[in-house]
Symmetry: C2
Subunit: 145 residues, 2 copies
DNA sequence: GTACGTGCAAACAGTTTGCATCATG
DNA sequence: CATGATGCAAACTGTTTGCACGTAC
């Protein structure tokens, strides 16, 4: 995320009548800088959050604040901790089962067709979906021949 | 799952040289009877597991045993607990965000095309995917108009 | 009889909450 | 200055582990 985008986000929050504390800004900055999904623990370790001296509880409360505002998305991947990242545009993830690296993929056109079919068939009104691909990243695929 | 299918599963495990204890059988029966993803807590509450008097620890150990055997699949949906279900055939889930009911959908043909495209483009070797749809089930959609 | 499944209790990780204090708007 | 954000400590939930005992094969 670019700096102006971050600023826009911050201003829009003010416009919605919500307070913008140093902690909330620091947390956004941590996620923006990392530019990949982070665990709560990783967020606490991040420079931005460490500098702001945020407590564990505050980190969780702030994450949930930003999530309610629609700015942060929570990923429930395999594994025991949740991952958090900026919810700038809809995308999916490639999760390497060896090195655990996560990368993003953007397109999911075909799903909208599927969703329409499902709605028609089952009466279920789909609002959103989560899709993750698990496998070997280029590097790990090479190493494991 | 039908009774003969369950029996087949049980026998195949014996054939693989693994022991079949009452607990392991009870747990499979609980999942087969429910016929929907269950949390560990729900499994412990189930008739089959309660009758077998299985300890919490045993339930988790047994779930992980069956998962390693490829019989049980773990679902990491939104929410704080994992859900477990029999891994009989690949499918996806419709999760109602209101009543929390989970139903299954079978088809995902179009994804194989996407997966090929991703592999070509990124070099990532996809082995499997998880896909969940969130929205309103027919009943909740009607109530919330 | 031996390898391994199980119960029990304790530990553990990740996350949440109550309350007093502090800062933002 | 009032509402609400934060730190601290404690609680809580879901899950895992160590060890002694029991059971399937």
């Amino acid at each position: 995320m670019s700096q102006p985008e971050l600023t826009n986000l911050i201003n829009s929050i003010r416009a919605r009548g919500r307070r913008l504390s140093g902690g909330r800004e620091a947390l956004l900055r941590a996620l923006a800088t990392a530019n990949k999904p982070l665990s709560a623990a990783a967020i606490m370790r991040s420079v931005a959050v460490k500098r702001a001296n945020l407590d564990r509880a505050t980190v969780y409360r702030t994450l949930s604040f930003w999530e309610k505002e629609g700015v942060v998305e929570i990923l429930h991947l395999e594994g025991d901790e949740r991952l958090y990242h900026l919810n700038l545009h809809h995308h999916h993830h490639l999760v390497c089962t060896v090195c655990k690296k996560i990368s993003a993929v953007d397109f999911c056109q075909s799903l909208s067709r599927e969703e329409a079919a499902i709605a028609k068939k089952t009466g279920f009104k789909i609002q959103r979906h989560t899709l993750e691909f698990y496998g070997l990243c280029r590097e790990c695929a090479r190493k494991n021949y």
